[in-house]
């Protein structure tokens, strides 16, 4: 990937245009389908494949596409084995089914607040996170349910957390936007965009520190930071790109470019909408990949993870993807062009993988149906578990504010406040 640097450095930036329609240079190199300008008819006639980027950085997606077209005609050169395919499929189905159930539960008044669903983007989560070991870390944003699920957090723990129950992965204290799991190394769940990227850089720093200072020579843990197109305009993003490249941190920056930051189209917010180009500016490879195709994402992820594990440093991966639902369950989603939504619906990653596996005789349809049924049961069980779980009691209020509760200080009577019996009841005056 490093050979792509030179090509990118010479790309001309298009002159400023608020709506890119008029600007020929942007239009020709910019196949984004933001609703601010009409869909180009020729894009729909392409062979069901994704819009090709004009960039020379992307090696993989083209290679993968070639592989794909070949494989539909002749059998060798399959991208995945049956087993791998089933793992991917099950994970994506879990993500989809879970999020659909969240929507249902939200409208039934079981969960509250801001809930951001991941429908449509499953290929990114599955494609990347399934390349990780348990010790690797994942950092996400508020759209984090599926990242947690892919990393291995049980569905019942996530659902309980959403219901605000004490059996949730964060004891009900985090909520939809703050999924954490120490066991599975999910480092959040952040409500402010960009806030998690430095934390991810820190986790990657720890990995490097362990290897180089603590001399744990086999420590090759990598960290993945997931965030959106809106975040790619935020200072923390750029600061962390710099630090990660500077110190060759084992981190992968995954941009889930779904073209919309609530109601702000990526094209209206960004001077140069091609986010992957920002990688080479800091000295790391920038890769663009079709985020609706889990096999392509997987290929890129493998390369990026291997790079990080070797100690070669960070990678910036831009996944072109789409969210089928609104920004959150409170978003009426009126701004996006229905034609755009329809277009991406035809590129549903789950349908695409299913088609691939069946056409290549990796599985029978019945097996996939069995998986879907199994996942339905898992999700149902998660809901039942969450329903039946207790709500947090008063005594939980003051726990966990401090790791060392002496931090609440010394009360007038000379004892530490945490020694006050009312403290454990949650009614102590702090």
């Amino acid at each position: 990937m490093s050979s792509a640097f030179s090509a990118i450095n010479t790309v001309q930036r298009p002159p400023h245009a608020s709506v890119s329609q008029e600007n020929p240079s942007v239009r020709s190199s910019l196949p984004f389908l933001g609703s601010t300008h009409k869909l180009r008819p020729n894009s729909l006639h392409k062979n069901g494949a994704s819009i090709r980027r004009q960039s020379s950085i992307v090696a993989v997606s083209d290679v993968v596409k070639q592989k794909k077209t070949k494989s539909s005609s002749s059998l060798p050169n399959l991208l995945i084995t049956k087993q791998e395919g089933l793992v991917l499929y099950e994970d994506m189905i879990l993500g989809r089914a879970f999020e659909d159930m969240c929507a249902q539960m939200y409208y039934r008044g079981k969960m509250f607040g801001f809930v951001h669903l991941y429908n449509g983007q499953e290929a990114v989560s599955t494609g990347f996170i399934k390349q990780l070991k348990k010790e690797d870390c994942v950092v996400s944003t508020y759209r984090d349910h599926v990242h947690a699920l892919s990393k291995g957090v049980p569905a019942r723990a996530v659902m309980s957390e959403l219901f605000g129950k004490t059996t949730g992965c964060c004891r009900g204290q985090g909520g939809s936007m703050h999924m954490f799991s120490r066991e599975h190394n999910v480092l959040g769940g952040f409500a402010f965009i960009g806030e998690g990227i430095p934390v991810a850089a820190g986790a990657a720093f720890t990995s490097k520190y362990k290897r180089e200072v603590l001399k744990e020579a086999d420590c090759d843990h990598v960290t993945m930071a997931f965030f959106g197109d809106g975040t790619a305009n935020n200072g923390q993003f750029f600061e962390c790109l710099n630090m990660a490249a500077l110190w060759k941190l084992p981190i992968i920056f995954v941009v889930e470019n779904n073209l919309w930051a609530i109601g702000m189209s990526h094209l209206r917010a960004t001077s140069d909408p091609q986010i992957y180009k920002k990688g080479p500016a800091f000295g790391m490879p920038g890769v663009h990949v079709d985020g609706m195709d889990v096999l392509k994402v997987r290929e890129v992820a493998q390369e990026a993870v291997a790079r990080a594990r070797r100690g070669d440093g960070p990678t910036l991966v831009e996944c072109e993807t789409y969210r089928f639902r609104g920004h959150s369950l409170a978003d009426p989603d009126e701004l996006r062009d229905p034609a755009e939504k329809a277009h991406y619906a035809t590129r549903d990653p789950i349908t695409a993988l299913k088609k691939y596996m069946i056409e290549n005789n990796l599985v029978e349809e019945a097996e996939l149906k069995a998986i879907e049924k199994k996942i339905d049961e898992v999700v149902e069980e998660a809901v039942e578990f969450a329903e039946a779980s207790p709500v947090p009691v008063r005594s939980q209020l003051l726990e966990n504010v401090f790791a060392d509760p002496k931090g609440f200080g010394i009360a007038p009577d000379g004892r530490y406040r945490c020694e006050d019996p009312k403290f454990t009841e949650g009614t102590a005056h702090v």
């Binding site: 799991s181 480092l187 500077l246 401090f402 002496k406 931090g407």
Partner: protein, 402 residues
């Protein structure tokens, strides 16, 4: 924890502007220089109460070597050092003790720290353990938090505390909150430290008191050091604490000299320090204002007052036990701080004391704070901005009249 101060008047005279060269610290006090016998002054806080000294009429505000019993340094236990050296000593001891302790900040490595607190550490521990960061406070503070969540114990240095305003997002949202929002799964044992406070004509942006902004953040502890002894002790305690701790140092206090014990010690993060026991009035203070208070105390003692001076040290949470016992004894409270009047530590402390010890008060709590102005550059205006010993004396006299 009783301490007796031989000479504190020179506190105002300490220079901060020449922070880059530790060997040259000159006095720029506007008082006469003739009485000064050298460029250091000695602070004794040896924990022994010597009531005889308290009544003695002191003519000099500044200790001269002649009248200081500490002059015979060779026979006394412990070793003498400056406050920034004490911080470094504490830091180094903790880094030796635990390999997960690391430092991150601007110019902490090769430069040795803009106030020399980390001098010599990078050659000893390497560039990764004493990490020179780019100028990106929010991101490297966030990075420290991520590192802390995954097992390290980082110390973040803000070159000036004011720069940490840029890190407010990470400090408030992540540092303070993540232990709670993760349901207790992740601990964040970071220490965030740096010099703050009003210096010597550094201008408004370099003269900020961030303790007032950070105090509402749930989940963090704040301490302020004021002597080499408590600087080292608090540094060590903060590093060992599992909670995120913000350690406030003061630009003008780095060159304070004191004799500290050779053996290892730690100061308690949540406790206040009794500086001078007394009967008539409780004066609560912290950081640099401690020295203004002690200077005023000299005058007050000569006038016949007996102030009890407590350095609260723990800005969040307050040590209401020490403070409360004092209030119950003296029934009068004066708070002297460097924060602004609005929303400062003094304001919170006033509220806390009113709430808890209202019945013990014979007079309203008086809080002397800095003016609510951006610190001016001009020396005269800067002097008017912060609390001066004369104001403290007047306030005590007024309070004790009631």
């Amino acid at each position: 924890m009783a301490s007796i101060f031989q000479a504190v008047g020179a506190a105002r005279a300490l220079s901060s502007s020449n922070s880059f060269d530790s060997k040259k610290f000159y006095l720029t006090s506007r008082e006469s220089v003739s009485e000064r016998k050298g460029s250091i002054f000695v602070v004794r806080s040896d924990g022994r109460m010597n009531s005889g000294r308290v009544d003695k009429l002191v003519t000099n505000a500044v200790a001269t070597k002649a009248d200081s019993a500490a002059a015979s340094t060779a026979s006394k236990p412990g070793h003498e050092l400056l406050l920034f050296e004490a911080l470094r000593e504490g830091l180094e001891e903790e880094m030796d003790r635990d390999p997960r302790v690391c430092v991150m900040g601007e110019d902490v490595g090769h430069y040795g720290g803009s106030y020399k607190v980390t001098k010599g550490l990078a050659p000893k521990y390497g560039d990764l353990r004493v990490l020179d960061t780019p100028i990106a406070e929010n991101s490297f503070t966030g990075m420290a938090i991520g590192a802390a969540m995954t097992g390290l114990r980082p110390i973040v240095e803000g070159m000036n505390m004011g720069f940490l305003l840029l890190a407010f997002n990470q400090i408030s949202n992540n540092c303070g909150m993540l232990h709670y929002t993760s349901g207790g799964q992740f601990t964040i044992p970071v220490v965030i430290r740096g010099p703050g406070g009003v210096g010597r004509q550094l201008g408004a942006e370099h003269s900020q008191r961030l303790e007032s902004y950070f105090q509402s953040i749930p989940g963090i502890q704040m301490v302020a050091c004021s002597t080499p002894y408590n600087a080292k002790g608090l540094m060590k305690a903060a590093i060992r604490s599992e909670n995120p701790v913000i350690l406030f140092e003061h630009v003008l206090l780095y060159n304070l000299k004191e004799r500290i014990p050779d053996e290892e010690y730690i100061c308690n993060l949540e406790e206040a320090e009794m500086v001078r026991p007394g009967e008539h009035i409780t004066i609560l203070t912290y950081s640099r204002m401690r020295y203004h208070v002690m200077q005023a105390a000299k005058t007050l003692v000569n006038k016949g007052y007996d102030p009890e001076v407590i350095d609260i040290r723990s800005l969040k949470p307050f040590d209401l036990h020490t403070i409360g016992n004092s209030v119950k004894k003296t029934h009068r409270v004066l708070i002297v701080e460097e924060c602004m009047r609005t929303g400062g530590i003094g304001a919170s402390l006033t509220a806390a004391i009113s709430e808890n010890f209202h019945d013990y008060l014979d007079a309203p709590i008086v809080c002397l704070s800095s003016q609510d102005v951006p610190t001016p550059y001009a020396g005269t205006l800067e002097e008017f901005t912060i609390v001066q010993p004369a104001q403290i004396v007047t306030a005590v006299e007024q309070l004790c009249q009631q």
